[in-house]
């Protein structure tokens, strides 16, 4: 979707302000939100792309006004209610009122301590890769209302395939509850002037990781 989250190339947000000696969490609740999110993901309640999409669908003024972990919490509440794990009444009451919906497993401290590695997004390939490194490609011009990982600034642009990362679960499909629909994933590199026009810094090159449906031969 063409949401506020798709920020690449926007102007007006000001300087990047780094905080010296920033702690992992600024508030105790931030760590709890991270832990809850991890736990529900491990339990199979939803996929990480559902979390991303739920954040993207927050109203832009809310998205910009709240902090990062507040955004996570809002997205989690949305997924909990939309997917039937918690009711709005329970959120309002602050307690469980209805029986739980079954989940496939539960994250325990032992599992956490055994290694918190990320899950693999590799999937069995469905066919040969359409492109190889060095191929010229043009990104498609799409503007779906659903989740996509093709940023606006990189649509309908000429680029070159640089790397192949194998076959991956396709977020556009996963977030829409249409299954993994595995797709080849490529690093595609663009000249800065192709993206931002002739006045762009001539030393700039930008790459995205593009799923095969985002690309056409050029």
């Amino acid at each position: 979707m063409n949401g506020i989250h798709d920020m690449g190339g926007m102007d007006g947000f000001g300087k990047v302000e780094a905080e010296p000696n920033e702690p992992p969490f600024h508030e105790r609740w931030e760590g709890r939100v991270l832990g809850l999110q991890r736990s529900m993901g491990y339990a199979g309640a939803w996929h990480i792309d559902h979390s991303r999409f739920a954040q993207e669908t927050l109203p832009p003024q809310v998205y910009l006004a709240v902090s990062y972990y507040q955004r996570w919490a809002l997205a989690m509440e949305k997924n909990l209610v939309d997917r039937g794990y918690v009711t709005a009444e329970e959120l309002a009451a602050g307690h469980a009122l209805k029986p739980a919906k079954p989940l496939e497993r539960k994250l325990t401290p032992e599992v956490v301590r055994a290694g918190m590695g990320r899950s693999s997004f590799y999937r069995q390939q469905q066919g040969p890769a359409r492109f190889k490194p060095g191929d010229k490609v043009r990104t498609v011009n799409i503007n779906p209302k659903s989740h996509t990982r093709l940023p606006r600034y990189a649509r309908d642009k000429l680029g070159v395939v640089e790397r192949i990362h194998g076959c991956h679960a396709y977020p556009d499909s996963v977030a829409a509850d249409k299954g993994d629909d595995p797709q080849w994933l490529y690093t595609v590199v663009f000249d800065g002037r192709e993206i931002w026009g002739p006045d762009a810094d001539p030393t700039l090159r930008i790459s995205i990781d593009a799923f095969e449906p985002y690309l056409e031969p050029a």
Partner: protein, 210 residues
């Protein structure tokens, strides 16, 4: 304080206490429903506060600076190479290391959200997830570098990697001059988090805190 429901370790105004209460309610509900184990949350928080941070990445970089075979392995398959070090927990399947050279400076961003190589760098800093960084890194990377006090030669190519899928990137910064013969442990002290994101350079020997 009027609000007796506050956690003891948090001090803030009414807006934040509302968030705090809301998150506490979430944890209560999910625990009562049997979906989550609060002890697992404790373990996750503890891991990020004590063991999963940029020192992991610094160790990787220092080894790459010291060991040409490891450097090569890291650049061809960072996931495998990092796994051989053992002491870093699994990094997922999709880590890619990109090397800075006098000709090319690499910078990592996630314009759409906050993708970041957590296992080797820890949690992303607030600025990495902020609108100023996400909006400008792809369009005005030299301006962003200036915000960090970094000024690169005009001819240096700037390569920005937008993490739009599950691939995670770590920058292999250039090894500072004057560090010949240094141990990996000493070298790792030169490797800052920002140098592995590409918004900074590795410290010079003279910049090390004594």
């Amino acid at each position: 304080m009027a609000d007796h429901d506050h956690d003891h370790d948090d001090e803030h105004g009414s807006e934040l206490s509302e968030t705090q209460l809301r998150v506490r309610a979430l944890e209560t509900i999910l625990t009562e429903k049997g979906y989550v184990d609060p002890a697992a949350l404790d373990a996750i928080v503890e891991a990020y506060e004590t063991s999963i941070g940029p020192r992991n990445g610094a160790v990787v970089v220092a080894k790459a600076w010291s060991d040409p075979a490891f450097r090569q392995a890291l650049l061809s398959d960072a996931t495998k190479a990092v796994a051989t070090l053992g002491h870093i927990s699994r990094v997922g399947d999709h880590l890619v290391a990109v090397e800075n050279t006098p000709q090319q400076h690499n910078m990592i961003v996630c314009t759409l959200c906050s993708c970041y190589p957590w296992e080797v760098l820890g949690l992303p800093p607030v600025w990495y997830k902020s609108a100023p960084y996400r909006s400008r890194a792809v369009k005005d990377p030299r301006g962003v570098l200036a915000d960090f006090g970094v000024d690169l030669p005009k001819a240096t190519e700037i390569r920005v990697w937008d993490s739009t899928a599950e691939t995670r990137f770590i920058v292999l910064p250039m090894r500072p001059a004057g560090t010949e013969g240094w141990s990996e442990e000493r070298l790792a002290d030169l490797v800052t988090r920002d140098s592995m994101i590409g918004t900074g350079l590795a410290r010079k020997p003279g910049e090390l805190a004594q």
